[in-house]
């Protein structure tokens, strides 16, 4: 089996922020101040098959971008190994760089004085794409992404969504074998995000040898697009499987969602017998709390309701639902993404 991407016990530790002429601090003191070493990836072992649309799902700070930067040859691992297209990212970068490209959400790359078309052309030249080939591809991709009308607009005049579409054109114009998409639909409207998702799926599945590694914290996006998903948190891969199999892992469990008046105390829910895990999200505008419970069965529901009403809080809705990828994450980690 040919792997487009393979990591073996990949670990990346960022050194803490030290300033010259300051006294050394105890590890506990550094941890309190957030200035100590940070383990962004912790012995990550995974394989992405050629032709796969692979998702990396996790909250902010989980290690998704660090992993992509290592695979994109922008960062060295602290220990372990990573291979892209069979080449070691620490030793053999040229053949990797020929085959990859990367697009990140919220990217502000390019030069404001150049037009969108000129900007993408410029980046294509760094990959040696013949000029006319690049221009033809740019025109085709700009039509696909709905950016044709803005092709001759200066980049500084583009909206956030238009700019992100231009970034996507930049990612595809070099015709990479492996494309890293780091939160590519971040901050985009529904329509723009849909166009990008549809094109990525068509690009991977419509031809052989193309692989995408997509990081996202949008559950629906990962669920809809990916062949397989790795759930990552605090630098560790917690599970890796198809979306259906991941959800099947907690299918025997019961998922309940409640919307209640804002709660004063929530920690005691974890001690209720039969509660496997739960998460909460405060809705400050409505002064309410949204709770998600992963239960072994329906038995603990009465006790949960009792503890909620015992705090004087009113239950506005109670819903039993099919498990989502977020529920899988909650069942593993004990908190949601936000």
């Amino acid at each position: 089996m040919a792997y487009a991407v393979e990591t073996r016990e990949l670990t990346r530790v960022f050194a803490g922020k030290r300033k010259l002429f300051r006294r050394a601090k105890a590890p506990s003191e550094e941890a309190d101040e957030g200035t100590g070493p940070v383990t962004a990836l912790d012995h990550v072992t995974t394989q992405i098959r050629e032709g796969e649309l692979f998702g990396l799902l996790g909250p902010n700070g989980a290690g998704k971008t660090t992993l992509i930067k290592i695979l994109a040859t922008l960062l060295l691992p602290t220990s372990g190994q990573a291979f892209v297209a069979g080449h070691d990212v620490a030793k053999d970068v040229f053949p990797i760089r020929q085959r990859i490209n990367m697009v990140s959400g919220g990217e502000t790359s390019g030069y404001g004085l150049l037009t969108a078309r000129e900007n993408v052309w410029m980046f294509s030249q760094f990959y040696g794409v013949p000029s006319q080939v690049a221009k033809d591809r740019i025109d085709r991709l700009m039509q696909t992404f709905g950016l044709w009308d803005k092709r001759n607009a200066k980049v500084r005049m583009l909206s956030t969504g238009q700019r992100q579409k231009m970034n996507m054109v930049r990612g595809f114009v070099t015709d990479p074998d492996i494309l890293f998409l780091d939160e590519p639909t971040l901050g985009l409207d529904v329509n723009a995000a849909r166009i990008i998702r549809d094109y990525v799926k068509t690009w991977v599945r419509g031809q052989t040898g193309k692989t995408v590694l997509l990081t996202t914290h949008y559950m629906m996006e990962a669920d809809e697009m990916c062949d397989r998903i790795a759930i990552i948190d605090q630098g560790r891969i917690l599970a890796c499987d198809t979306p259906a199999n991941l959800k099947r892992m907690i299918r025997l469990d019961t998922t309940f969602r409640l919307e209640v008046d804002a709660l004063r105390e929530t920690t005691s829910f974890g001690s209720i017998h039969g509660v496997k895990n739960f998460s909460l999200k405060d809705d400050i505008a409505k002064n309410r709390t949204n709770l998600t419970f992963i239960l072994e069965d329906e038995a603990p529901v009465a006790e949960i309701l009792s503890r909620i009403t015992g705090q004087g809080s009113k239950v506005h809705s109670l819903q039993k639902s099919e498990p989502t990828l977020e529920d899988v994450f909650i069942s593993m980690v004990g908190r949601g993404f936000e």
Partner: protein, 309 residues
């Protein structure tokens, strides 16, 4: 990778890749920077004002000397000397454009590329890193040449300067090698500035006026070298910046070696060309190693290619 595109790695492919990269990176400088006509005011008209101050001072000295001169030979000598001084200033003003471009658009460039998010895309691309710096330099030279020519032509037309070029080939060689050495230095600074971060901004400001002085932008550098005591030390330290030696040679080649009585030159143009060629090679080699070191550091520490880190 069974179904993937076959990728070439041969020398011809790499040469083509890096030439395209140079053209690609030069493009925004050549096209983008000339897209807004405001550059004519800021980069051609305003520098003329700086030159004008020195020109008027030299012309005032000349006028004063002419009042006391009655001998036609003395009058001719004073006029020739004044022309040489004004021409030196115009040439210096032309070279100032290149020096400012090296400081603000070469040395600081990688730092700004990092801030706008381009640098990590550059570092991820398969092109050679020297192609990136080379593209910046070629674009900078071409863009600044339009500004420099505008300053030169304006200086000639407005101040009536007369140049006498005896050896155009040598003149072209000196100008070309001076630019390579100057931009080679800018390429080296580009990596170092990125390492130093925001403080580098102050370095550029710090290197403006002192270098104008030490490189003799507005007077013949030999005049500085002949000041007893510290003068020669400052002048020879200034020759590390290629603009100083380049200007000295250009002035000799456009005004004649006998201008200023032949006493205000540092070396002959041939010697200066040789030193400039050595400086060009040294700076380019240092630039290559500085950027390789920067990239290694960036990958190891993860701090240099991403914004806000």
């Amino acid at each position: 990778m069974t179904g993937a595109t076959v990728h070439r790695t041969d020398l011809r492919y790499r040469l083509g890749l890096n030439l395209r990269a140079v053209v690609g990176r030069a493009y925004p400088r050549v096209i983008g920077a000339n897209r807004e006509p405001s550059w004519i005011f800021f980069e051609a008209f305003l520098p003329l004002l700086g030159i004008a101050a020195y020109v008027f001072i030299y012309q005032a000295f000349g006028a004063r000397a002419l009042e006391d001169a009655s001998d036609p030979a003395a009058v001719a000598a004073i006029l020739a000397n004044t022309n040489a001084l004004v021409a030196s200033v115009v040439l210096g003003g032309t070279m100032v454009s290149f020096w400012l471009n090296v400081l603000w658009s070469m040395a600081s460039q990688l730092y700004w590329e990092k801030e706008i998010g381009n640098l990590q895309l550059y570092m991820m691309a398969p092109m050679n890193r020297m192609a990136l710096l080379g593209g910046m330099a070629v674009g900078g030279m071409l863009m600044t040449s339009t500004r420099a020519v505008a300053t030169l032509v304006s200086g000639v037309v407005i101040f009536g300067v007369v140049f006498q070029v005896a050896d155009p080939l040598l003149l072209f060689a000196v100008f070309f090698v001076t630019l390579i050495a100057l931009y080679g230095m800018g390429m080296m600074f580009a990596s170092l500035y990125l390492l130093w971060g925001r403080e580098a901004w102050h370095l550029s400001a710090l290197m403006e006026e002192p270098i104008f002085f030490a490189s003799g932008f507005y007077f013949p550098l030999g005049g500085l070298a002949r000041i007893p005591g510290w003068g020669s030390a400052v002048a020879f330290a200034g020759t590390i910046i290629p603009a100083g030696l380049g200007l000295d040679a250009l002035r000799q080649l456009t005004l004649g070696a006998t201008a200023f009585g032949g006493t205000l030159w540092l070396f002959t143009p041939q010697v200066e060309l040789a030193i400039l060629a050595i400086l060009a090679v040294v700076f380019l080699v240092l630039a290559r190693y500085a950027l390789a070191y920067l990239e290694m550091l960036a990958k190891r520490e993860g701090k240099l290619t991403s914004r806000h880190q």
